[in-house]
């Protein structure tokens, strides 16, 4: 073996990073490769050469520790200062806090799922470059769960509805929407998981979750949430880049991958879009001060930026996801249909609901000139009149859920916003119901998967949720009736807020 005598030289970032990652791996000879990586061939994706993997970013662990520690130091300094100054009292209004309840019970557990899911694919992929990128995302996601818990911990001390977030996520009816989304991705093979989460969710849709949420937090005086949100987003840029690289890599490796990848993009666009219904409602109804409407956000982040992305991918043969036109047709109704549903079922939700006040209705009418005054305002005015007459409306009947997205069947026909959309399929002698063509397509492609869905309403009727009555189910949810649920107007949160702020109780 010759000894090195070369003159000192500086390795470029790319070459140095390759030495730090993929050069660590070797071709095994004592164990067969498919035994070390048994999941690699499960889904029919053909990878000819993992060495062609383009690293989406080039952070070595020492640089990772350095930058991440700096982010963490800044973030925890703010979290500490927030708690010491009782800064929860600086938010615009206690109604805002309900957006955080939805976030902690619905989104934070998904960060945990992402942490574990990326550990799975970080072990399952045979290429070291892909492994490292996925593993790094896995610990980033753990960071996000934990910083969210630590930030919202302070709100939990002063507001109700946060306390049992962990217990609720695995049980409460609307939380099966986010839970089943991630269960779906994680129970798929590694290539589908990364297409679902890194590409369809992180790259195409996640901006709609974080950017409006965090700008909304800033606008509503919640500096702690802004800080964890933006701090998490700084990792997100790496994750989005991974999502794009994965898609390009699969498509460049073998032409047979195209139809598989396109089918996954279709499926996960629709799954993700339906999940974002909760965000649409949060943006238009739960922020006392609004940044932009759901419709504006969808136009900016999906129609414009998503359009550019898919135009870019057209050279690989990828087209826009199926049913994207429906998402555009729904953009002026999605949030209203969702909020009306939660208002209906406010007795079974772990956050408060309310009717928008006059100025908020004016904002909604301005943002949704074609739909709000014509279709939604009359309904709200009716409910407000009922509430004032002492008959606040709660819907006592459990809703039928979509077999795939698990949202109650409240969406309307793409071309007729006044008719509820119902679709159904038959499988092994049973009928299955769907909210949309998008969800029906997903079921029809993999019925054996979606017949397994743990549908909360079915489970209640089958007696698996603590009993058959609403009080029994709420106890099983660990949802304290009268405190965590019902209208904001009658809530202890509101009473405490008024006392803390020295505001006169307004009735």
């Amino acid at each position: 073996m010759s000894t090195p005598t070369s003159a000192p030289k500086k390795l470029g970032l790319r070459e140095k990073y390759a030495r730090m990652t993929r050069d660590l791996a070797w071709e095994p000879s004592y164990q067969p490769k498919d035994k070390i990586y048994p999941q690699a061939g499960l889904e029919g994706i053909k990878i000819e050469d993992w060495d062609r993997w383009e690293d989406p970013f080039r952070l070595t662990m020492d640089a990772y520790w350095k930058y991440q520690a700096e982010k963490e130091r800044k973030l925890y300094a703010i979290i500490d200062a927030f708690a010491q100054n009782n800064a929860q009292l600086n938010v615009t209004d206690a109604r805002y806090v309900n957006a955080l309840k939805l976030f902690l019970t619905g989104v934070t557990p998904l960060e945990y799922a992402a942490h574990r899911g990326f550990a799975m694919v970080g072990r399952a992929f045979p290429g070291a470059g892909a492994q490292v990128a996925c593993q790094m995302q896995s610990i980033d996601e753990l960071r996000h769960v934990q910083t969210q818990i630590h930030t919202i911990s302070h709100y939990n001390k002063y507001f109700s509805g946060f306390e049992e977030w962990r217990h609720m996520h695995d049980r409460v009816w609307y939380l099966s929407v986010p839970k089943s989304f991630f269960d779906d991705a994680m129970s798929a093979g590694p290539f589908e998981f990364i297409t679902a989460i890194s590409f369809s969710f992180e790259y195409v849709l996640t901006n709609l979750l974080f950017m409006p949420f965090m700008s909304g937090a800033a606008y509503n005086g919640d500096m702690a949430t802004v800080t964890f949100g933006f701090s998490a987003q700084s990792d997100e840029a790496r994750h989005m880049t991974l999502g794009l690289e994965v898609i390009k890599f699969m498509l460049e490796q073998h032409p047979d991958n195209l139809p598989i990848v396109q089918r996954w993009i279709d499926k996960w666009f629709w799954r993700g879009y339906r999940l974002l219904t909760l965000v649409a409602m949060m943006m238009d109804y739960m922020l006392p001060k609004r940044v932009m409407s759901w419709q504006e956000a969808w136009e900016m982040y999906f129609e414009q930026n998503g359009g550019a992305l898919f135009a870019d991918l057209a050279r690989y043969g990828i087209r826009m996801p199926r049913h994207w036109e429906v998402s555009v047709k729904e953009k002026d109704r999605l949030s209203h249909e969702a909020w009306a549903t939660f208002y209906n079922y406010g007795h079974a939700a772990a956050f408060h609901t309310w009717m928008p006040d006059e100025s908020e209705m004016a904002w909604l009418a301005e943002k949704y000139p074609a739909s709000f005054d014509a279709r939604y305002r009359p309904r709200y005015e009716h409910w407000i009149a009922e509430e004032r007459a002492g008959r606040r409306f709660y819907n006592p009947t459990l809703p039928m859920l979509c077999q795939v997205c698990q949202i109650p069947m409240v969406f309307t026909e793409p071309d007729d916003p006044t008719t509820t959309c119902y679709r159904e399929s038959h499988y092994h002698g049973e009928h299955y119901h769907f909210c949309s063509d998008g969800c029906k397509d997903i079921f029809d492609a993999e019925p054996e998967k979606y017949v397994q869905s743990w549908l909360p309403v079915h489970q209640i009727y089958q007696g698996h949720c603590g009993g058959g009555s609403v009080p029994e189910v709420l106890r099983w949810y660990r949802l304290e009736a009268g405190r965590d649920n019902l209208d904001y107007l009658s809530s202890p949160d509101r009473q405490n807020w008024q006392r803390w702020k020295g505001e006169a109780a307004a009735g």
């Binding site: 071709e27 520690a69 009782n86 009292l89 910083t147 049992e164 129970s187």
Partner: protein, 339 residues
């Protein structure tokens, strides 16, 4: 309209989340570690069976033969959650940065004997591949293990191992004035040289172990428990005697990391073994089985440095591991009965 808020009126309604309070007692404030750890992993009401493992749920306690009533007994004595972990590593990383700069600025690599460097390439640099396997093995524990307390620590461990593999890579580059011939030589040895083949075989065999707790034990307790003292204490002492402390300076992180790592893994074995006689027996059996194999895999490497004295060195290291198991984990195992 209010100007200031009387803080006495703003009293907390509760101290922490329900699942944390049920573990630590209600009315008590929880630590950041506790809130960031307890009960994070879902345990019930999964929607779909995994396509890649239809015999189990997504998270399933039966992926190991170890049985625990409560996997959250497996806490981390270092109390690492992401923020605590990454800030600790960042401080250590700064020290390492200074050490690398010190060695580079003083041109120390040029002063070292080429034969000595080639021996580092044959004996120390190939460990970057061992660390890569350790990274994958700990990632497997993080992925398929049970309970956030144990799996998050395995995640940190996996990334630590990647970091160590990268420090070893940097040592190779630095000793070679940023060339990669030493690393290439080390990799060729890893693939072909006789003194490393049993160790490579062991690493590949670990990559196919199915029981994640067995894997954790074999990798982080047994293999690390013999390899780290062998390389970073015994072999490194030989290298320092020959050529000064340059190598020791560049591997300072590994010493510090290993001392901390043993505290974590010892606690895991201790808690699991204490939970039931069946667990204890199984853990002891795995320790016995894997220490036999690891010892055999390390012998040719040790022989390169210690010649006929290698057996005696490994006897000492194995005795030290057994003493550690006894003292820290309450575990003992009889050596395999010779056939």
């Amino acid at each position: 309209m209010q100007i200031d808020i009387r803080t006495t009126a703003v009293t907390p309604l509760r101290q922490t989340f329900g699942h944390v309070a049920r573990r630590i007692g209600s009315g008590k404030p929880a630590s950041r570690y506790q809130e960031a750890t307890f009960d994070l992993q879902p345990e019930v009401n999964f929607h779909y069976r995994p396509y890649w493992d239809a015999g189990h749920e997504l998270y399933d306690a039966s992926r190991t033969a170890i049985v625990m009533d409560d996997w959250y007994a497996c806490t981390d004595p270092r109390q690492y959650y992401y923020g605590a972990w990454t800030q600790t590593r960042a401080r250590q990383q700064e020290v390492m940065e200074r050490n690398f700069a010190f060695v580079e600025q003083r041109g120390l690599p040029e002063l070292l004997d080429e034969g000595w460097k080639r021996r580092v390439a044959a004996l120390v640099l190939p460990l970057r591949h061992v660390e890569y396997a350790a990274n994958l093995n700990n990632t497997a524990v993080a992925a398929y293990g049970y309970g956030a307390a144990l799996t998050q620590a395995a995640s940190f461990c996996a990334m630590d191992r990647l970091g160590i593999a990268q420090y070893l890579t940097r040592i190779g580059l630095l000793l070679d004035s940023n060339g990669s011939a030493l690393l290439d030589a080390a990799k060729a040895d890893w693939l072909h040289a006789a003194h490393l083949q049993p160790l490579r075989r062991l690493c590949e065999d670990l990559l196919v172990v199915e029981d994640w707790f067995e894997l954790l034990l074999a990798q982080d307790f047994v293999l690390d428990g013999l390899l780290y003292p062998l390389v970073y204490e015994r072999i490194e002492a030989e290298f320092s005697r020959e050529a000064g402390t340059t190598l020791a300076l560049l591997s300072g992180f590994m010493d510090e990391w290993y001392a901390e790592h043993t505290r974590w893994i010892d606690q895991q074995l201790k808690v699991v073994a204490a939970a039931s006689a069946a667990n204890r027996e199984r853990v002891a059996g795995w320790c016995r089985q894997w220490s036999e194999r690891v010892r055999a895999a390390l012998l040719p490497l040790a022989s390169e440095v210690f010649g006929d004295g290698a057996e005696a060195v490994l006897d000492e290291l194995e005795a030290a591991l057994q003493a550690r198991a006894q003292k820290k984990c309450g575990l003992s195992w009889a050596p395999e009965v010779a056939a």
